[in-house]
Each structure stands twice: as C-alpha cells, then as structure tokens.
C-alpha cells in the first residue's frame, strides 16, 4: 500500500532534495547530524557564515536524509536512531573531530530566557536604561542595582553584577537584558553523530578534551625522561637530569660515609645532624638534654 502511495504522492521538491542530499553525501567525506531542537535558527545562519569555507549546513527532513543515505549505500540502521527531532546536516571534507573543535570554539550567544543559567558574568552597566520610571524601579531595588530617575527614565548609577558564570539569571532582569542587548547564554550546536569514511562516530566521542591530551603528553614526556635517565641516554635534556641524579647520589654517599670535602660537608653534617635530632627527639620527653630540639 505504502508503495503506491509514495509513487503517487512524492512531490517534486522532495525528489529534488533527496537528489541534492545524495550529491552532497557523495561529494563530502564527513556528514554530521546536529540537533536543532531548542537551537535558535538565526544562529545557524551565523555558523554558516563563519564556516562557509569548510562546511555546508543543510536543514532537511529526517526521512529525506535517510532515503538519500540509503540510496548512497550508507548502512542506515546505524544512524536511524539519530534521525529524530529537527536536525541539520553538516557536510565537510574535514576530519569530524576538527569540525567539532571549530564549532565548540565558536561562541554563539543568545538572550537569556527565564530559568537560564549565565555562561558568563552578567553585568548591568551604569547608564541610562531608557526604561520609564515605574514598577521596574522596585525590580532593580530588589536586585540591589543602584538607580536614580533622570528625565523620567531609570538610570543605573554603577556597574552591577547580577549573575556569575554558572549562576541562575534572575528572571525579573531578563527583559532588561534584552533591552540592553546583553546575551549572557551560549548556544552550541549539539552534534549527534558523525559519518566519516564508513566510520560512525557518536557525538560524545566527538568532543575532544584537550586538557586530557595535554596531560597525557606531559605524562609521556615525563615517562620518556625517566626512562632516559635510567639508561643514562645521551641526550642533553636527559643528561641534565641524569647529572643531577649522579650528583645527588655522590652527595648521599659522601653523607652516609662521612667523607668530607668543602662540597660534601653540608651533606655529611646534615645527615649526621638529622640523625642526632631524630635520636634526641626520640628521648626528649624523658630527658632534659638542655637543648632546643627541632621536632
């Protein structure tokens, strides 16, 4: 039944769109499905403009994309779970992780809605608000924003922070923020899945934690230094540490064997003193040694 229905009812624009999607799937190595649920459409325009050279973004119906994908030879069973809600389809030849990084670094801001948390410090700047004196005065008062009335308009007398990053934004102030053009909430395109070179990469994997990479690099480097020192690998950056180790070994040996030179005297007497203090400390509760023991 559905077959006959489709054959008769598919409008031309749908056929055209599937064809276009198929061309893009063929043309680009990476296809990313991004959720538009709760995403302001005007912001999509900003993203398009910013990344015009590296990606194409198309908003389309899930069914049409699914059909185009299937006809392009993609195993749709692996992506159909992501084809719900409103989606944008990003086409690019870049590595999907790079696209994810680019998008996450591009800060898009929007106006606050009641119930939002601030993504950055929200400051009500000093100056004329243009708001007529009236009930808003008490709203400002409640939020401890100093005001005075000038020419029948509310003027704020001092820059005032109304929300720190992560804090909820007082709902009363939301209209004021709009009026003042303050956008304290970030919007981010949520990437649901990437298809790239026959690989399906779920969205959560696409988020690279650069700090983790940095600490892994550091750890690897330290491991390399440690191993290098262990085998006295002749490379300047390792030798510096190895020389220090050899020096401290020599000092420790001088200290423990009581071998005194002007260089080792400090080590020798420090070792002896540490032992003397430890012993003195161990009996200081019972004996008056007539000395001050650092414990």
């Amino acid at each position: 039944m559905s077959l006959t229905v489709k054959q008769h009812k598919i409008p031309q624009w749908k056929i055209e769109e599937v064809k276009e999607l198929k061309e893009k799937i063929k043309q680009y190595k990476t296809v990313i499905i991004a959720s538009l649920d709760g995403f302001p459409t005007d912001k999509l325009h900003e993203i398009r403009k910013k990344f015009r050279d590296v990606m194409e973004i198309k908003v389309s119906k899930n069914r049409l994309f699914e059909r185009a994908a299937k006809e392009s030879g993609i195993d749709v069973s692996k992506i159909e779970q992501y084809l719900t809600g409103t989606n944008a389809f990003i086409f690019s030849n870049k590595n999907p992780f790079e696209i994810s990084l680019m998008l996450s670094k591009f800060k898009l801001k929007r106006y606050a809605l009641p119930g939002d948390k601030a993504d950055e410090e929200v400051v009500i700047p000093a100056g004329d608000t243009g708001i007529p004196a009236g009930p808003m005065i008490s709203v400002f008062g409640k939020l401890k924003i100093p005001t005075r009335v000038q020419d029948g308009k509310i003027t704020i007398t001092k820059d005032t922070v109304v929300a720190e990053p992560g804090q909820p934004i007082p709902p009363e102030i939301v209209p004021v923020l709009q009026k003042l053009g303050i956008m304290p909430v970030y919007v981010k395109l949520r990437l649901k899945v990437a298809y790239h070179d026959n690989l399906i990469i779920p969205g959560e994997q696409l988020e690279l934690k650069l700090d983790d990479y940095k600490s892994q690099i550091l750890e690897s480097y330290k491991n390399a230094l440690a191993l290098g020192v262990e085998i006295a690998y002749p490379e300047p950056e390792i030798l510096k540490i190895t020389l220090g180790k050899a020096y401290r070994n020599a000092m420790a040996l001088a200290g423990e064997s009581g071998y005194i030179t002007p260089e080792s005297a400090q080590a020798v007497f420090s070792a002896a003193l540490a032992k003397a203090y430890a012993l003195a400390g161990a009996i200081s509760g019972k004996v008056d040694l007539g000395i001050q023991i650092p414990t």
Partner: protein
C-alpha cells in the same frame, strides 16, 4: 598511551602528525590501529602546541604535574 607515544615520536623526529604517519608508526609497533582514535588524536594535536606543553612542564613542575595525581 600508544597514540601519544607515537605522536611524540613523530614530533621528536620533526615529522607531521598526520593520520597516515600515525597509522604507519602504530602498525610498525604492532598496534591494532583504531581509525577513530587516530582521527581524534590528529585533530586534538592540531590544537595543542606540544612544544608549549613541554616547555610549561619544565617551567612549572607543580602545576604541570597536577593532573597526574
């Protein structure tokens, strides 16, 4: 840590950390290469300045070591 060691090896040898180079090194080491991981590492290391990280490591041992805790 194989992917990181392989990347640092390439970096140390002054070669670009590309997907192909990384795969070559890992394969030569007998590692079963995970394509997704290779792509992730290459993308991440494009953003991370390795020399910078190592330089900071040397200059700020305490802060630098913190993540290792």
């Amino acid at each position: 840590m194989e992917y990181i060691y392989a990347s640092l090896l390439l970096h140390s040898a002054k070669k670009d950390i590309t997907e192909d180079n990384l795969k070559n090194v890992l394969t030569a080491a007998g590692v079963n290469v995970d394509e997704v991981r290779v792509k992730a590492v290459v993308a991440a290391l494009k953003e991370v300045n390795i020399d910078e990280v190592l330089k900071n490591a040397a200059a700020m041992p305490v802060a630098a070591a913190a993540p290792a805790q």
